[in-house]
Amino acid sequence: MRALLAQTRTELMLSLRNGEQLLVSIAIPLLLLVFFSSVDVLPLPDGVDKGVQFLAPGILALAVMSSAMVSLGIGTGFERQYKVLKRLGTTPLGRPRWVGAKIAMVLCLLVIQTSVLIAASFALGWSPGGTPVLAPLAILLGASAFGGIGLLMAGTLRGTLTLALANGLYLVMLLLGGMIIPFDQMPGPIGTLGRTLPSGALSQVMQSCLRDGAPSAGSAWIILALWAVLAPAAAARFFRWE
């Protein structure tokens, strides 16, 4: 338990000390939220009159993707490249506690991110609706899906390649995932593709949890749950420690 706590504290401290990771996990989502809530340039879904009503759930989904996939993936990728994981292999820490500390670190980051983003959303006049009690479950499923993708990259590619790919995926999944641009504003096939991505599934679920009048997200929950199981399973299967 002492080792798990020390490991978690170290993981969290290192990611908060890392400027680029903070930029991706807090500054960019916050900037997008504030900018597009204040400046009416983005299309909104039919029946939504205020930007923040649509943006707040989408940006919360984006925050999950940034900490669970980008921060976790890039951090772990470089730890693997710099032989930290190899070195840990000959200590009594063990893989279960290492994985436990990574999960705890992502959960702590999520608490910090969502607190900041929810506070900012309220300041921008957000009034959440839908079924908010389900939002934490959606966030956890999303974290599992994105964390699996991040670790899959980190455990199979070089650190620099993980860095590039994680950032590329982040942008693609942001644009196609219905997080800031509504699906009903996209051409049909692109919208269909977007809805099957983990980002698309999570943003639909978050909309239904946090916005009155959002489309029901039954199939999105199923897609999200599939990603949440398959991505970590693939990571566990293909992860190489060296």
């Binding site: 710099y82 930290v84 190899k86 070195r87 000959t90 009594p92």
Partner: protein, 328 residues
């Protein structure tokens, strides 16, 4: 430590063979390392040192043969063993954004009865670098922190891979002092190195391997004694009148390379006196003078060269060339 010195070997390597596809990295290697002794595993790059050590650390499994560390199988009994060994990798192994004391404290949390992180930091001379992150430490400072991390769990066996490679002289002295102190604490130290000077100065036992085979396994002094030869070597200006010198010494003299001479005779004090007298008469300078005893480097070169020759002779030429190339 609890077990008496020399009773149980801390490390046993028994007919170890490691193959990667067609390439044989280690071929039937056997040796032991005892508690309270520093054993140097010495060999050129690609000799099989790292494969051997990584097998002992549990990172890989033998193709055939067996290894034991503290009587345990490093792979199967990994969980029972990791708390009792310390590992220093050749490079890396530390979070790039972490500070030395943070890393030591983190590692200390993994062990039941760790050493004191602050004392250990002081021991390796990094107390004044506490505010720096790993990535801003110099190569030598990184090596010293890696050494401290290998020792934080008070290991019974320490695996140190090239601990002083690419380090400035003062850092090297410090690392050697710390390693030498482990001996008195009863730790079995297995040191991988291709630095002969290091093996000669530090090790109680030297295990020389090349092409995955054992070439020698003895204390350094014994290795050097075994290589004693009846010859005197000296350096002086090139193109001496070696015929005249041979007459004076009543022994054959050869100029093995320009300015480098060999007298084929036992290096008795009388022989040395005659040689230096002759040089003095002609007002010639004496560059260096070596008698009898060779350095470990001479032994090492002789052993690894003859191993290379015999391997070449024994193996099918094409196969052995391919094997050597793939190792690079």
């Amino acid at each position: 430590m609890s077990f008496p010195k020399g009773d149980t070997p801390a490390i046993e390597v028994d007919d170890l063979t490691i193959r990667y596809g067609d390439h044989v990295a280690v071929a039937g290697l056997s040796f032991r390392a005892e508690p309270g002794r520093i054993t140097a595993l010495l060999g050129p790059n690609g000799a099989g040192k790292t494969s051997t050590v990584e097998t002992l650390e549990g990172y890989r499994t033998p193709t055939s043969g067996a290894v034991r560390v503290l009587g345990l199988d490093p792979h199967r009994d990994h969980a029972a063993l990791v708390g009792r060994i310390g590992v220093m990798l050749q490079s890396g192994g530390v979070y790039s954004g972490i500070r030395p004391l943070e890393m030591l404290r983190l590692f200390a949390s993994y062990y039941e009865a760790p050493a004191d992180p602050v004392e250990l930091l002081d021991l390796v001379g990094l107390t004044d670098r506490q505010r720096s992150t790993w990535r801003s430490l110099s190569g030598g400072e990184q090596q010293r922190l890696s050494l401290a991390l290998a020792l934080i769990g008070r290991p019974e066996v320490a695996f140190l891979d090239e601990p002083t490679a690419g380090i400035d002289p003062s850092g090297r002295q410090l690392i050697r002092r710390v390693i030498a102190d482990l001996r008195s604490e009863g730790v079995a130290v297995l040191l991988t190195t291709h630095d002969l000077d290091e093996a000669e100065k530090l090790a109680d036992q030297v295990v020389i391997i090349d092409h995955g085979r054992l070439l020698a396994d003895a204390p350094p002094a014994e290795l050097m004694r075994s290589a004693e030869t009846d010859e005197v070597r000296f350096g002086a200006p090139a193109d001496l009148d070696i015929a005249a010198l041979a007459d004076r010494l009543a022994a054959p003299v050869a100029e093995v390379s320009p300015g480098e001479y060999r007298v084929a005779a036992a290096g008795t004090p009388a022989m040395v006196a005659a040689l230096t007298a002759w040089l003095a008469e002609q007002d010639l300078p004496l560059g260096d003078l070596r008698v009898g005893r060779q350095t470990l480097e001479d032994v090492f070169l002789r052993l690894t060269e003859s191993a290379a020759v015999s391997t070449e002779a024994a193996a099918n030429g094409a196969t052995s060339r391919r094997a050597r190339r793939s190792r690079r």
